[in-house]
Symmetry: C2
Amino acid sequence: MNRRAEAYPADRVSLREVGLRDGLQLVKTWPTTEEKRSWLEREHAAGVRHFEVGSFLPANRMPQFADLASTIAAVAALEGARSAALALNERGAGDAIGTDVDEIVCVISATEEHSQANTRRSRADAIDLVRTVARLRDEAGHKAMVNAGIAMAFGCSIAGRVDPDEVLLLAEACLAAGADVVGIADTVGFAGPRQVERLAKRMCGLVGDGGFIVHLHDTRGMGIANASAALDAGCRILDGSLGGLGGCPFAPGATGNVVFEDLVYLCETKGFATGIDLPALAAVRDIPEHAMPGEKFYGGIARAGPPAAFDWRV
Amino acid sequence: MNRRAEAYPADRVSLREVGLRDGLQLVKTWPTTEEKRSWLEREHAAGVRHFEVGSFLPANRMPQFADLASTIAAVAALEGARSAALALNERGAGDAIGTDVDEIVCVISATEEHSQANTRRSRADAIDLVRTVARLRDEAGHKAMVNAGIAMAFGCSIAGRVDPDEVLLLAEACLAAGADVVGIADTVGFAGPRQVERLAKRMCGLVGDGGFIVHLHDTRGMGIANASAALDAGCRILDGSLGGLGGCPFAPGATGNVVFEDLVYLCETKGFATGIDLPALAAVRDIPEHAMPGEKFYGGIARAGPPAAFDWRV
């Protein structure tokens, strides 16, 4: 069985909680290592299994991820839980391989303009990093899978419209370079559900069993509608963050990721069992709300709760 | 040509702004008559054409609608604009016919339990009111169309699950009683997109050309996803309110209607031209935000604006 099918079984929906990574990128304060551990443990107890928890970067660049190794160890202690973290260069990849991380995430910009502006390297170089990470992983005999995420896949804050053909070619190139799983990200929240459905259907054609990741931002209120469209198209791996935490440096005033709790509710109403206890999940919000008083937290389920009048579960 | 096809052409999407009715039902303060007029004028200038503006009720029960006749007159002064208002009993219907209103809205509960608890009358009595309103309208030779909205159509805060067969039968009964247009409302925000798509498809079977109304609340964050599903199913008339204003007495802590600005963006991304200028529309929020400082206003478009990097319009 390949790594991807093991981590993300094709016969169910997998939801990745990226709040501890994407949600902490732009904040001024963040949870302590102990609070992160509690966040992970309580979400795990509520049924969450996939956690993206940070970026392998020098602590002076991203002090919120200085405790990344401990956070990964905290995930490893939870039964059936899997950790993911970003490696943005070879040094990060080396650091990753020194930990127990289950998934090393590389990011490729959908457009050359954004790639150069954001990382001062070409898309080809970004794909080379995927190849390097896979090689380093194999040489070390490390368990981690390699995840290649294509940022700005639905529209670019610099180049504007993005050609879906190019996204498909990039995804193919990432797989050829050794990525175990690929993802498409609406980094600045430009997408609408029709666009998501079309690109996700083409990704299904490439990957086969819905085993690719759709990462959405709720910048313009389309997050859950786009997630619904991705599910309709056949995608079976979706990202979200608790309370919709997270922003984007390229989208001032933007809100963050799709609200994880609402994403769970969406899946359940569509007949996809998530195994997640919604009230228990929503209750975990007290940790980031306490640790990041300057942030806004979103979501309908946390406000209204699941329907009380009948059993809404699948 | 029948009244409905004239008001809601089948070849395009019609968006009804219900903020001045549904949005004002539970608030403690509300805009002055002059502010309401400005709200209407500025939305009309932005391209909005359908306005639901109040309920014909004694002023001591709903003082926010005491100026309803003036508000209806303000809509009548705007070219191509149409006003709608609720009539909850025969007296209200009589009052409506004394005004220039374009649409008289009757409400029928999907469940007998909710009908009795909310209005102390049966669903049969509610359908009789539709018949009475149509008769009074005809006797007076008044232009108004009769709109019958089925509340709790996707789940009831009292009875729980709602049988779609019953909703269809009620809709059919409303049309037989003389309603020119029928609507289905997710009054307490229980619905998910799959459920909306299924019921909307059946409504299309009943009505034919998508000429029925879907009225959604964003209580659990599913509002825009549900609107998207309704459009996919063929519905061509949708309600929303500026800033998502509005709550529901049966759903404590609930947010209001689907955010109108985000609904416009959704339609445009799906290829439905709305004729609405999004930044101009979002700017109108200053009126309710000023007049109702105690309320929360929602929405992604108002926060982030439409994408700047490319032309997102249809």
